[in-house]
Amino acid sequence: MPEVPRVLVVDDDPAGCELTLAALFEVMPGCLADACVDGIDLFRTLQRPGQSLPSLILLDLKMPCMDGIEVLARLRADPSFRSIPVVILTSSDLESDIHRSVELGANAYVLKPVDSGAFLELMRDLSRFWILWNRRARC
């Protein structure tokens, strides 16, 4: 039985978070998806005992307390979380944000589209690719 993919969505906007989760469930019925409201919540979730590593993290950049860039830097600095694929899902198209993310090792940088149909398509493609990639890496 194939492992159930687990996706963590990090977004401080609850509605946006719910929408992303809804889109994920829409495109990958049966997947496990959790929402974290910020970076601190994410690390708490990751370090919860008995938890396996997520197959994918969808990371927003603009967040209070610890922003996405810092979260990414910490993930990449921590040997136990270094291998988790991280996709930046943000509405910021600032060049500085894009450069910084790529430098720190983001696996993809995706602008949140307003068109919900397009968003669903994107979610589908992204999660499939990275979950497949993850599975292959673990074999």
């Binding site: 906007d13 509605a15 946006g16 929408l19 809804a22 889109a23 829409e26 509405s91 910021s92 949140k112 589209p113 307003v114 068109d115 919900s116 149909g117 968003f119 669903l120």
Partner: protein, 535 residues
């Protein structure tokens, strides 16, 4: 008038008297000397003749040894003027003489006729004595000696001398008279000249003239003197004239100089007040410039804050919008339109399309705020190329529309390619939107060239607009058409204007309602090109 020997008159008189005295004296002396010599010669000749005559007549008395006869004959010498005495000697033997007879005038002692006689004539100045012998064979036989007083023969010389003295006195008087006359004719005109010269000297009156008399050298001298006076007077006048002119000129120059000095002082004063004003206004200008710098800095900060604000606002607006749109999509998926009341489904559709519209608005606002934030990359840009790219991009939206593109060759421009591409895209999008109702849309890209540079234009045959509102066209959210007729955010042309302004260019539009519109725009020059070519 001082008179002395050194005066001309004295010297003239002295010279004339001297000449007269010398001439008369010399002639007199010469004549006297000659007369004295002649008298002596005459006396001697008379004495010799007398001696010879007496000797002839007395010879027989000696031969016949008659001493009385001889004495008688000698006594006849009484009648001979000047004879003082005579002695007759007879030779005795060969060398001795013995007195035979003698005569002497009574009362007068002989001076020379004493002692042994000597043959020939002797004289002591006053008396003369002559002795002559008679020879028979070699030996003298007798000797006669006669002594005479020479003064008798000199009596004529004295008269002559007296005559000479008279002549001398007369000559001197004549010389004096002549000198006086001459002096009168010579020194008077001279003295007159001297007087005139003195008057001229003492009174400085060069109009004084010497009197001209006759036509002699003095007249010439007077004329020359007068001419000289005239010349001196003319020279004096000239000198006075030039002196006066010089004084006038000096006066003029001095006045001029004073005027200049006053003018310079006035200018100086003016200049210093100008300098003060200038310094004051310089200070003012510096203050203003400082104020300007401060307010400029403030303005830049405010502008940046505004742009950051508009960016973050549009950014923050997008998140809820995206959520709304996402949830509507979720609703539509879970409750298909067929299952909903038709009214609800329609409302849901409206919400969805409004969401899309708002998204477009926010996107436009974002790009508008981004224009001022992005770094310009200057490069050479060919507008027709950009137009072709935009055409290709829009191709799928234009399926079925008939569009006639007229792309004239236009000069390349300098600018940020991405931004200029947005200009072309917005203008073309605009043109296509407002030609939607035309059977054949016509778009033309071209340019006009004038002294200020190149003005590009994009013309369409769309619905145009009311030219009264042309200036509102480029303001944010300004729309000249009903959004139901022509959709749009009202930001596109504002973006175009903002981009062109960032390039140092500008845009204007001409149109008639229903007859198409034409957008003219200038693109500025890149800073380095503008630096090389200030036009």
């Amino acid at each position: 008038m001082r008179r002395s020997v050194s005066s001309f008159r004295g010297r003239l008189t002295f010279a004339m008297v001297l000449v007269a005295v010398l001439v008369v004296g010399a002639v007199g002396a010469a004549v006297a000397a000659f007369e004295v010599a002649a008298a002596e010669r005459r006396a001697r000749a008379n004495l010799e003749t007398l001696t010879l005559l007496v000797l002839r007549s007395i010879e027989p008395s000696v031969d016949f040894d008659l001493p009385d006869e001889a004495a008688q004959r000698l006594a006849q010498l009484e009648g001979a003027e000047g004879v003082i005495g005579a002695r007759l000697f007879r030779a005795v033997g060969s060398s001795r003489l013995e007195l035979f007879a003698n005569y002497s005038r009574a009362g007068i002692q002989p001076v020379l006729g004493i002692g042994m006689p000597v043959e020939g004539f002797r004289s002591d100045g006053n008396r003369g004595v002559h002795a002559r012998s008679v020879y028979r064979g070699e030996a003298p036989v007798m000797l006669l000696e006669i002594e005479a007083d020479l003064a008798t023969f000199r009596r004529g010389v004295g008269a002559l001398l007296a005559l000479l003295g008279t002549a001398l006195v007369l000559a001197t008087l004549a010389a004096l008279y002549l000198a006086r006359t001459l002096q009168r004719s010579v020194s008077r005109p001279l003295n007159e000249l001297v007087a005139v010269a003195r008057r001229v000297r003492e009174q400085g009156d060069y109009a004084e003239r010497a009197r001209v008399q006759g036509d002699d050298e003095f007249a010439e001298l007077a004329i020359a003197f007068n001419q000289m006076l005239e010349a001196v007077r003319a020279r004096g006048r000239e000198l006075e004239d030039s002196h006066r002119q010089l004084e006038e000129r000096v006066g003029e120059r001095t006045a001029e100089l004073n005027r200049r000095v006053e003018e310079v002082e006035r200018l100086n004063h003016h200049l210093s007040s100008l300098m003060r004003d200038l310094q004051a206004s310089q200070g003012e200008a510096e203050r203003i410039a400082a104020d300007l710098r401060i307010s400029n800095t403030r303005l830049m900060v405010a502008n940046q804050e505004l742009e950051a604000f508009s960016y973050s606002v549009s950014h923050d607006l997008r998140a809820p919008l995206r959520n709304i749109s996402g949830f509507i999509e979720l609703v539509r998926r879970r409750a298909p339109a067929e299952s909903l009341p038709p009214e609800v489904a329609r409302h849901l559709g409206i919400v969805a399309s409004e969401t899309v519209r708002m998204g477009a608005l926010i996107d436009d606002l974002l790009s508008l705020s981004r224009i001022g934030r992005t770094q310009m990359r200057w490069q050479r840009v060919e507008l027709p190329e950009l137009l072709e790219e935009v055409k290709a991009e829009l191709a799928h939206e234009l399926g079925g529309r008939r569009i006639e593109w007229v792309i004239n060759p236009v000069p390349a421009c300098h600018g940020d390619r991405a931004l200029l591409r947005q200009v072309v895209a917005n203008l073309v999008g605009n043109a296509l939107k407002f030609t939607r109702n035309r059977a054949v849309a016509c778009l033309q890209l071209g340019c006009l060239e004038d002294g200020a540079g190149v003005e590009y234009f994009l013309r369409d045959n769309g619905v145009g607009f009311n030219p009264a509102f042309a200036d509102k066209l480029f303001r944010v959210f300004q729309r000249l058409h009903n959004p139901r007729e022509f959709e749009g955010t009202g930001i596109g042309l504002a973006i175009v204007q903002r981009i062109l302004a960032r390039h140092g260019g500008r845009i204007r539009a001409e149109a008639c309602e229903g007859e198409g519109a034409c957008f003219y725009f200038r693109i500025g020059q890149s800073p380095e090109i503008a630096g090389n070519n200030p036009t």
